[in-house]
Amino acid sequence: MSTTTVEPTTVTLTLREALKQSLRDALIRDERVFLMGEDIGAYGGCFAVTMGLLDEFGPERIRDTPLSEVAIIGTAIGAAMNGMRPIAEIMTCNFSLLALDQIVNNAATLLHMSGGQFNVPVVIRTTAGAGKQLAAQHSHSFEPIFAHIPGIRVLSVATHEDARGVLCQALEDPDPVVLFEYPRIMTMEAEVPVEPAPVDLGSAAIRRAGSDVTLVTYGAIQHTVLEAAATLAKDGIDAEVIDLRSLRPLDDATVLASVARTHRAVVVEEPWRTLGVGAEVAARITEEAFYDLDAPVGRIASAEVPMPYAKHLEEAALPQVPAIVAAVHRVMHRG
């Protein structure tokens, strides 16, 4: 009697593990890659994404830094300008404001300001989002602040396959990439191919195909949007859900093509509504697809308050399924 062993073709991973695999791949593939950030080494990363990497790759490539956000980003920029491929981590985007000067005034400007002489292939990983009762200073969603800045690419990573492939793509970019990850969903599991398929985070992804309305979103909140879409399906509304993934540059084409089919759109994002990515998307739809629309573009975002600690208030501040469903009903003229 003979047995045949079949190599499994898929594996179940948490989002955290998918991100770590992506970092490992990058470190193995390219010896110019190194990691630097607060508590990424001995501690294992504040969200455990880099756990074990110090043992595997050593302190020369997994560099614990002091609490010095300016120096972390500035040093990574300098190293990137001089032949290395640093991946710098800012624990959460709440603290990225301390390094914003380096990102805006150096990383984003140097190529243009030097007349094309110095490109800055730095990757900056950070996290965003609320939902863990961490109160205002640990719950910010600053994707729009970064998406405002020409000269950097801004990606948001909220699915396993994207997480698995993101660093491969980010490191191929000759220019600065700011990467948003989402602590709220780090433990989310999914089955993914053992051999990661190449992903293109530069384009938006259609997470759910539908014909009645286009829901444009990004980041962790897309999982809430997908829940809302399931609810809407029960009401007979077939929603298409688009994950923008790249917030700068924006993949207008995917959004506009969808709106041309559905004639209705609602934008859902976790940051504040005023001057957000959603505002930009709504404006572009209005500019480019006005005559395709059967209703004004709807917008759902977090309440314009510093994120409160209390659970009920935090839930009230964040976009939830009922609010998304109601917004869709409004654009379907069923509200």
Binding site: I77, G78, Q102, M113, N119
Partner: protein, 337 residues
């Protein structure tokens, strides 16, 4: 000029300098001085616009420091960087063209006076955010070390940058990681109108650096030979793998902060007293004393420098403007990823 206690070693200038080297140092200082004097004229003639920060009075530092560097050592600088750029070996023509906003400028006219860049000479730019270049320099130096290249990065900044958190974060990191960087602090005693004594509770800046376990000392920034000597010692230590060094060059700017500054905050007598220590006449005096140079020799040098500047201005005048259609170029890289 100022008497103050310090833990740091004061270095006596070396007793001698060869004719060839002495004349080289003088030529470099004259090139910077005369270049900037011409910039003032061109600013008045509205050929140069924007901010223009002059280095006049501080030339001994750029000149003395560069004399200790190898060609492939790197420099990170500030908006007051004409002297550093010239001394590092960037041609005057492309520098002047940059100030004219021309496409043949070192940054295609996108940077102007404050943002001279040159990859070929490893000049990583004039940075106009006070202290903004300091972590950058640490990164440049770290990359050299990680890639096994025996190079030093010199980071120039004013004493005002020591007020900023970026300085403290960066020097600490450089010290922890033994990064081959020279922190070259040009202490001209003022950050715009703010006197050092009014900005810093501890005015001995080398002492602050020493608190990060970085070897640090003072150097007379008005004496090019002292600058060279004090810097060489640092560069030798850094190249030998000793980690970063901090030098506080004591200097003074003879002109206002920028062309916009009416300079109301300094006592004219103080300015006058520092002008008595002008590094250029001082070196001429030394070279004459040593019998290396006479008035004819000085005049010949001046003529040579003037001709070079004339040529640079002509180059800048003749250079074209970048076509407006190219405005969006280099926001992101054009090389295929």
């Amino acid at each position: 000029m100022t008497e103050r206690p310090s833990h740091a070693t004061e270095l006596a200038p070396p007793p001698d300098v060869s004719r060839e080297h002495g004349v080289h140092l003088l030529r470099e200082m004259l090139r910077i001085r005369r270049f900037e004097e011409r910039c003032v004229e061109l600013y008045s003639a509205a050929k140069i616009r924007g901010f223009l920060h002059l280095y006049i009075g501080e030339e001994a530092i750029a000149t003395g420091v560069m004399a200790t560097l190898e060609e492939d050592d790197a420099v990170v600088s500030t908006y007051r960087e004409h002297g550093h750029a010239i001394a590092k070996g960037i041609g005057m023509g492309p520098i002047m063209a940059e100030m004219f906003g021309k496409v043949d400028g070192v940054a295609r006219g996108r940077g102007g006076s404050m943002h001279l860049f040159d990859a070929a000479t490893r000049f990583y730019g004039g940075n106009a955010i006070v202290a903004g270049g300091i972590p950058l320099a640490v990164g440049v130096a770290l990359a050299d070390r990680m890639q096994g290249r025996d190079r030093v990065t010199v980071c120039f900044f004013g004493e005002g940058a020591v007020d900023e958190g970026a300085f403290h974060e960066s020097i600490n990191l450089a010290s922890l990681w033994d990064v081959p960087v020279l922190f070259a602090c040009e202490n001209n005693r003022y950050s715009m109108g703010m006197a050092l004594e009014r900005a810093e509770a501890q005015t001995d800046l080398a002492l602050k650096a020493a608190s990060y376990a970085v070897p640090a000392w003072h150097v007379d920034g008005m004496d090019v030979l002292a600058v060279e000597e004090g810097t060489r010692r640092a560069i030798t230590a850094i190249r030998g793998g000793g980690g970063p060094v901090f030098i506080e060059y004591e200097t003074y700017r003879f002109r206002a902060h920028s062309m916009y500054d009416p300079d109301l905050y300094r006592d004219p007598a103080e300015v006058e007293a520092w002008k008595q220590r002008d590094p250029i006449p001082a070196l001429i005096g030394t070279l004459k004393q040593l019998g290396h140079l006479d008035d004819v020799g000085v005049a010949a040098l001046e003529a040579e420098v003037e001709a070079e500047i004339d040529e640079a201005v002509a180059f800048a005048e003749d250079a074209p403007l970048e076509p407006v259609e190219d405005l969006h170029r280099f926001v992101t890289s054009e090389v295929a990823p």
